[in-house]
């Protein structure tokens, strides 16, 4: 028996072995994210009144999970999603979530085993169709066991048919009166048929419901196979085999000293770092510096034993990550480091002890109630909370990846002091700020050599720019693009719990301007960005726009806004350019095509032609997005937090590119919490504080605030 099982698994290629028992960390995370996606998609369906379409999308998401993970993960994900879906609208969404799970599982089996259409449909009919029928008949709305509701529904079906027949009859007799008896007879026969249909439905419901669901199931199965297969192929090309990761055993001794001996660290099988040689002695405090893409995070993950196993020499093979007296790690993205749903739950996760929440939080300068949901915390609070959880483990080795990036200078200094005071712990932390203290050992790592070639490329392209002036064609005729007067915005305006976000905002933006709006988290800057981009309407005040002005918003998460597989497809889709060379679009189409050619030059995308989106670096992805948006003929481009995670070189690069775009005729608004950025020309430098906008000293470059054309 176990033999046949092994054989079966062998045919499944890269699938995980015949493991049993609880989900490991990677499976658990995939299941939880899938559950969250199911619920969020169903919720989005409710908002957009496209519920059933989103249910189909939800089943694709499950199919992807089922194709890559054990059935146990699918069951867990669907169960959790069905439970949470209760708050979206009761039993209806619960059954939608559960059915998305069943159909997704069937689709996943088909994808994983490479079945053809017929086998897929047959399997789905065997498994998912009975589930769907059972759900309708017995669970929601439980037509089979709920006689009264059934009768009420049928009564209404019958009434509707009669009513429609009567209405048609009435209209028919009007036609009859003017001598068009044929219309009368036709309408009468339609009415009769409606009534017959209603009677047929009512008499045969127990057959008809399964029959309808049968048709649905077949369509569903084919859709999942077609679309799910497409998604899966893109996932496989862009990502990697499913991660295998589980909790590490408790440490047998201290996890230090560590050594790397001329090793190249990889991520997803691709070399990331230059050959590294490094030794870390007990009690040392190391600060690792280096540009984006040099592999700082990859190095920390390797030290944590999460990746590149075997590349680090350790005293025993045990890292003891997450255990008391072992290794503690805080990763980079703050919202990803906090895993509990509340502050208290996050601090308690993984440690079974009694502790004082207030005191623990005070150690990192936080003052929060235990039951505050983590989704309500700011980036800086999340970073400090994650750090508090790490420090609670009294680690012998602390790995901290950019853990003060969201803190203001005072809080940052306090955290650094706290870390410096940990004398008996070895600390390895990365930073993009110059915050190492004298006693720290500083290590600078450089990019692997293949990246250097790209830098040379960029320089060559830059010199090319200066050769000729580029112009983006827009339809705007006036100099002033947009003017906000006395603009105010409240969340939930008009309700008793309305939350004012913006007050008395006055702002004019002209052509050829680069405007910087800075503000801390929660200052209302994202709302202002959305108003400027036309995605939100102010609660009060005026927004005057120049005629023909087109606006666009580039969100912080670039990857989410890129939808196609390759750079070329993405650019034409973003710009709305036809690729079949049919000139039905007229002048606008012509302008977009020309704009796209210009933008490709401006953003130095020529050498990315033919590449896949997922192969690109974050900076390259952003350039593709901006180029596509600009080609649309956008004359006002709003960028929300474009500086996040960029090193000095990346910032300089962004400043240079945006300046070309500005001179080509698209005005730029940059909204950011990070002020450490110096483009060569800043027309207006504004600060948003508590929802009020004020002009601060002209840009660091010394450009006077003109408010007009250059």
């Amino acid at each position: 028996m176990s033999r046949s099982k092994t054989a079966k698994n062998a045919t499944q290629g890269t699938l995980p072995g015949p493991r049993k028992g609880p989900l490991d960390a990677a499976e658990m995370a995939d299941a939880a994210l899938t559950a969250a996606m199911i619920v969020a998609l169903l919720a989005a369906g409710r908002v957009l009144a496209a519920g059933s379409m989103m249910q189909v999308v939800a089943s694709f998401v499950v199919a992807v999970l089922a194709a890559r993970r054990r059935t146990r993960a699918v069951v867990m994900a669907s169960t959790a999603a069905a439970c949470i879906a209760l708050i979206l609208g009761g039993l209806g969404p619960v059954s939608q979530a559960a059915l998305a799970g069943v159909f997704g599982w069937c689709g996943g089996q088909s994808l994983r085993r490479g079945w053809g259409r017929i086998r897929t449909v047959a399997f789905t009919l065997l498994v998912a169709w009975p589930a769907m029928v059972a759900s309708v008949l017995l669970f929601f709305p439980a037509i089979a066991i709920n006689r009264k509701l059934r009768e009420l529904v049928f009564e209404n079906v019958e009434n509707q048919a009669d009513g429609m027949a009567n209405i048609l009859g009435g209209i028919g007799s009007l036609f009859d009166a003017v001598g068009l008896g044929i219309v009368d007879r036709a309408l009468g026969s339609v009415g009769n048929r409606l009534q017959n249909l209603a009677d047929f439905l009512i008499d045969n419901w127990l057959l008809l419901i399964p029959a309808t669901e049968l048709v649905y199931s077949v369509i569903y199965a084919l859709l999942i196979r077609a679309v799910g297969g497409g998604i899966l192929r893109r996932l496989e090309r862009s990502l990697v085999d499913p991660l295998e990761l589980d909790v590490q055993p408790a440490p047998e001794g201290p996890p230090v000293p560590l050594a790397l001996n001329d090793v190249v660290l990889e991520r997803n099988g691709v070399p990331v770092t230059a050959p590294l040689t490094l030794d870390v002695q007990a009690g040392e405090h190391l600060v690792i510096e280096g540009p984006n893409g040099a592999g700082k995070s990859t190095l920390l993950d390797a030290l944590a034993g999460l990746d590149n196993l075997g590349s680090v020499e350790r005293p025993s093979d045990v890292v003891g990550l997450g255990h008391v007296g072992g290794t503690a790690r805080v990763g980079q993205r703050p919202e990803a480091q906090v895993i509990g749903t509340t502050v208290g739950e996050d601090l308690a996760w993984g440690l079974d002890d009694d502790f004082d929440v207030t005191e623990t939080l005070a150690g990192v300068g936080l003052e929060l109630p235990e039951d505050r949901p983590s989704s309500e915390l700011s980036g800086g609070e999340l970073q400090r909370l994650a750090l508090a959880s790490a420090l609670r483990r009294k680690p012998k080795l602390l790995l901290a990846d950019e853990v003060t990036s969201m803190l203001d200078p005072r809080e940052q200094a306090r955290i650094i002091d706290r870390l410096e005071a940990l004398d008996d712990a070895t600390i390895v932390r990365t930073t993009h700020r110059d915050d190492a203290v004298a006693s720290d050992r500083r290590i600078v790592i450089r990019r692997a050599s293949h990246n250097a070639v790209q830098a040379v490329d960029a320089e060559a392209a830059a010199s090319m720019h200066q050769a000729g002036l580029q112009t983006i064609r827009t339809n705007v005729g006036e100099n002033r693009l947009i003017r906000l007067r006395d603009v105010a915005y409240s969340h939930a305006a008009g309700k008793p719990w309305a939350l004012p976000v913006l007050h008395d905002v006055d702002l004019s933006i002209h052509r050829y301007e680069l405007v910087i709006i800075e503000g801390r988290n929660g200052s209302g800057k994202t709302t202002l960005a959305r108003i400027l981009a036309g995605l939100e309407t102010p609660t009060s005040g005026e927004v005057d726009r120049a005629s023909g002005v087109r606006r666009a918003l580039a969100h912080q998460h670039v990857r989410l806004q890129l939808l196609r597989a390759t750079v070329d497809e993405e650019l034409t889709s973003l710009a709305g350019v036809r690729t079949d060379r049919e000139s039905t679009g007229g002048a606008d189409q012509q302008a977009r095509t020309e704009n796209l050619e210009t933008a490709i030059k401006l953003f130095e995308l020529e050498r990315l032609s033919g590449r896949r989106i997922d192969e690109l670096s974050g900076g390259e992805q952003r350039r593709v997005l901006l180029a596509g948006l600009v080609s649309r003929g956008v004359s006002l481009l709003v960028l929300d937090e474009p500086l996040a995670g960029l090193d000095a070189e990346g910032r300089a690069d962004l400043a240079r590119t945006l300046d070309y775009v500005r001179l080509a005729g698209t005005s730029i608004v940059v909204v950011s919490h990070d002020v450490d950025w110096t483009p060569s020309h800043v027309s207006q430098h504004l600060q948003l504080e508590d929802g009020r906008l004020r002009s601060i000293a002209p840009g660091i470059s010394g450009t006077p605030r003109t408010g007009g054309t250059p």
């Binding site: 439970c83 009264k148 009669d162 480091q337 949901p373």
Partner: protein, 266 residues
């Protein structure tokens, strides 16, 4: 803000209903819904509607929380109304069928009452509290060998990720809908819809894959994949009363015959 993450945020005011334990609200909602959906007479609908009204007032919710009915639903409701008015169901006053109207009104009110019950739960209870309540409610199933800790942890992590994922889905939606019409598919609505679905799903899945990777690493960094037990909640007397009352009402709905009795379909 008409964004999907608004589903997961309670309305930040204080009221007796807000202070009820999430368990009481979930259970009471389920009991009342079962009592109503299996007993569709006017008397039962009336009682459920009264309870709903009381809960709504008790939660100090203003009418402005009510969501707007989408246009397409309004059209459908209007069509149904016309059909019912001109049906032949007795009693009739002139051309207007009161019987038809009554049947229609019963069906529609049941639908609205069910939706609004859930609305009160989500307007008065944060997602986090609902997550804790769900995890406490499934705990007794451990005696049936159901892996409640595992399910509970997945629920906890899903609740933690939900606002982030919902925001991501909104960004993807905005990106899809703000694009110029896919020119290559102009005049081919099915292919257009197909590419819309595929693009949306792929972007959402790829975005969440990165999150899953981060999440698994964060869990390993805590040395455990099991969420801590949800904080104990001692049910107050009022919570117990609400649960017991809703349960008794549900039983009563089945025991006490409704008036006027259902007229079976011919």
């Amino acid at each position: 803000m008409n964004r999907s993450s608004s589903f997961f945020r309670a309305i930040p005011i204080d009221s007796p209903v807000h202070r009820l334990a999430a368990e009481s609200k979930v259970l009471a909602g389920i009991f009342v819904s079962i009592g109503l959906v299996f007993n569709t007479e006017w008397s039962h609908i009336g009682v459920a509607a009264l309870l709903l009204f009381a809960a709504f007032r008790g939660a100090r919710l203003p009418l402005s929380v009510l969501p707007r009915v989408p246009l397409i639903v309004r059209f459908a409701l209007f069509g149904g109304l016309m059909g019912s008015i001109f049906s032949d169901e007795a009693p009739k006053v002139g051309a207007i069928s009161l019987g038809g109207l009554s049947d229609y009104a019963r069906l529609i009110s049941i639908g609205f009452i069910m939706i609004l019950w859930v609305g009160i739960l989500s307007w008065t209870t944060g997602l986090t509290a609902v997550g804790f309540a769900l995890r406490r409610l499934i705990r007794p199933l451990r005696y049936l060998k159901v892996p409640v800790d595992e399910i509970g942890s997945v629920i906890a992590l899903a609740v933690r990720s939900l606002p982030l994922v919902a925001d991501e889905i909104d960004v993807v939606n905005e990106s899809v809908t703000s694009r110029p019409a896919p020119a290559d598919h102009a005049g081919k609505p099915i292919r257009e819809a197909f590419s819309f679905i595929r693009d949306t799903a792929t972007a959402v899945v790829i975005g969440s894959h990165r999150r899953a990777r981060d999440l698994s690493m964060a869990m390993v960094s805590r040395g455990s994949t099991t969420a801590p037990l949800p904080p104990r909640r001692q049910l107050r007397t009022v919570d117990k009363a609400v649960i017991a009352g809703a349960f008794l009402l549900c039983v009563a709905a089945f025991v006490i015959p409704g008036v006027p009795p259902n007229t079976p379909a011919s």
